[in-house]
C-alpha cells in the first residue's frame, strides 16, 4: 500500500492481480451484467489509484477499502435509471440465478478456504435474515424498501438485519479479528 500511495504503477498491478477477480465477482453479483461489471472493475481500480495517497489503514484493510469502492460504484450504476429498467426486465431470470448455489472448481488455496468459510457463515443464517442483509448490501435497498419488497414489517426487517450481522460477526471472528476494522 505504501508503494501505491507513492503512485507506483507496479503496486497498482499487484493490487489489481490480488483483488480484480473479487471486484468483478462483486460487481456481477450486484449488476448481473458482464459488460457493466467489467466497467466497474475499471472504474474501481482507477479510483483506488487516484485515492491511494489519501488511503489510511485506520479506515479499514486494503481489501475492505477496495470492496467498499467497488460496491459503491456498482450500486451507482445499478441505480441509474437505465440499468434499473433493464434489471427489472430480467428480474425473473435473476431470481432464478440468485437461488443457484455459488459453485466453482475445487479450490484448496487460502482464498478458497476463506471463501468456503464465509459461505458457511452466510449459509448458517436463517433464510429471511440472509435475504434482508443481501438485499441491503447487494441491491442497495434501505430497510423501508426491504420491508416493502419482502412484505415483512419494518421492525422485523431491522431485527433480522441486526441478528444476521451479530451472528456473522461471531462466525467470522476468526477471519476479521486481529486486523483493523
Amino acid at each position: 500500500m505504501e508503494r501505491l500511495r507513492e503512485r507506483d504503477p507496479e503496486a497498482l498491478a499487484e493490487i489489481y492481480d490480488s483483488y480484480a477477480g473479487l471486484v468483478l465477482a462483486l460487481a456481477l453479483r450486484i449488476l448481473r451484467e458482464r459488460a457493466a461489471a467489467e466497467e466497474v472493475v475499471s472504474q474501481s481500480f482507477w479510483q483506488v489509484w487516484e485515492q491511494a495517497p489519501r488511503y489510511s489503514e485506520q479506515r479499514g484493510s486494503p481489501a475492505a477499502w477496495i470492496i467498499s469502492i467497488a460496491r459503491s460504484r456498482a450500486l451507482d450504476l445499478l441505480r441509474s435509471e437505465d440499468r434499473e429498467r433493464r434489471r427489472r426486465e430480467r428480474a425473473s431470470e435473476q431470481i432464478e440465478r440468485q437461488t443457484e448455489p455459488v459453485q466453482g472448481p475445487a479450490d484448496w488455496t487460502l482464498e478458497g478456504e476463506r471463501r468456503r468459510f464465509v459461505m458457511a457463515a452466510l449459509a448458517s443464517l436463517p433464510g429471511e435474515q440472509r435475504e434482508c442483509v443481501e438485499l441491503a448490501y447487494y441491491q442497495g435497498l434501505s430497510h423501508r424498501e426491504i420491508a416493502a419488497r419482502t412484505g415483512a414489517p419494518l421492525g422485523t426487517v431491522k431485527t433480522r438485519i441486526l441478528l444476521a450481522m451479530e451472528k456473522l460477526r461471531e462466525a467470522l471472528a476468526p477471519l476479521t479479528s486481529g486486523s483493523a476494522p
Binding site: R7, P9, L12, A13, Y16, D17, A20, G21, L22, V23, L24, A25, L26, L28, R29, R34, A37, E38, V41, S42, F45, W46, W49, G60, A63, A64, I67, R71, L75, V102, Q103, G104, R115, V118, M119, L122, V133, E134, A136, Y137, G140, L141, S142, H143, R144, I146, K158, T159, I161, L162, A164, M165, E166, L168, R169, L172, L175, T176, S179, P181
Partner: protein, 249 residues
C-alpha cells in the same frame, strides 16, 4: 435512544440500509460514543467480508493493460529530457502506438463478446436440456400410457401419438398431417377418463400440418382411457364444444 435501537442502527448502517435522516442521527451519536463507533466498525468489517463468499471471476486482460497504461501515463512527469530528434517524431510514434492499441483493444473486446455469447448460448442449451429431461421424466414413469390417435372421417390421413402419465398429469403429444384449423379456431387436446374430458392444452401446426405439445396442465387422473383432438374457438375452451378430428383409446 435505547441500546437495542442503537445496535439496530449500527447494523443497518453497516450494510447501507439506513435512510438519510436516521443516518445523520446515528452519526451525531457516534461523535460522542466510542463503544458504538467500535461496534459499527466491527459490523462494517463483517459486511465487507460478505463478498469474500463469491466465486472470483476472471476479468478480461484488456482491462488490466488499459488501467496500467493509464496509470503510467498519469504519473507526475519525470524531468524533461533534452530533445535530440525532430520534435514531432515522438508524437507520430505515440499516435501510431495509440492507434494500434485502439485497434487491438477493439478486436480483443469483440472476441470477448463472441466468447461470452457462445458461453451464454451453451448455458441456455444446457438449461433447455435439463428442462426437457425434467419435463420428460414423468413420461418414462411406469404409469404412463402411449396412445395412437387416428383421423376422423373428414381427415383420414391425419394421425397422432400421445404418451401421458396420469399420476403427474404430464406427457407429450405429436400430431401429423393436420390441415390448418379454420380462421379464429384452434386445435385442443383432451385426455379422457371414462367419458370425462380433461383439458390437455391447445397447439398449433407447422406448415406440414405437424405439431408437438408438451402436456403440463392436466390434473392428476386415475387413468387415461382415451385421447382426442377437437377444433375449438381460439384460445381454447374448458370443455370440448367443436368437431373431433383425432381420437385414440
Amino acid at each position: 435512544m435505547s441500546h437495542q435501537e442503537l445496535r439496530e442502527l449500527c447494523a443497518l448502517e453497516a450494510v447501507g440500509a439506513l435512510e438519510a435522516e436516521e443516518r445523520s442521527e446515528l452519526l451525531r451519536h457516534l461523535e460522542q460514543c466510542t463503544d458504538c463507533r467500535d461496534y459499527l466498525g466491527s459490523l462494517r468489517q463483517v459486511a465487507t467480508s460478505m463478498p469474500l463468499a463469491l466465486a472470483p471471476q476472471t476479468p478480461p486482460p484488456a482491462i488490466r493493460s488499459a488501467l496500467l497504461a493509464r496509470a503510467r501515463g498519469s504519473r507526475p512527469a519525470p524531468e524533461a529530457r533534452e530533445s535530440t530528434g525532430a520534435w514531432w517524431m515522438p508524437w507520430v510514434a505515440f499516435a501510431l502506438a495509440a492507434g494500434l492499441a485502439g485497434i487491438l483493444l477493439v478486436q480483443v473486446r469483440e472476441l470477448q463478446r463472441e466468447l461470452e455469447l457462445a458461453q451464454q448460448r451453451l448455458g441456455e442449451q444446457g438449461r433447455k436440456v435439463a428442462e426437457l429431461q425434467r419435463e420428460l421424466g414423468p413420461i418414462r414413469a411406469a404409469s404412463s400410457r402411449a396412445i395412437n390417435l387416428k383421423g376422423m372421417e373428414a381427415m383420414p390421413a391425419s394421425h397422432g401419438k400421445a404418451i401421458i402419465d396420469p399420476q403427474s398429469g404430464r406427457g407429450v403429444f405429436f400430431a401429423y398431417k393436420l390441415p390448418p384449423p379454420p380462421p379464429g379456431k384452434t386445435y385442443q387436446l383432451w385426455a379422457l377418463q371414462g367419458d370425462k374430458p380433461f383439458d390437455a392444452g391447445i397447439f398449433v401446426t407447422d406448415a406440414d400440418g405437424n405439431a408437438y405439445l408438451l402436456v403440463q396442465k392436466l390434473p392428476q387422473m386415475e387413468q387415461v382411457d382415451a385421447v382426442a383432438v377437437t377444433v375449438e374457438p381460439a384460445g381454447g375452451v374448458p370443455a370440448p364444444t367443436g368437431a373431433m378430428v383425432l381420437l385414440g383409446s
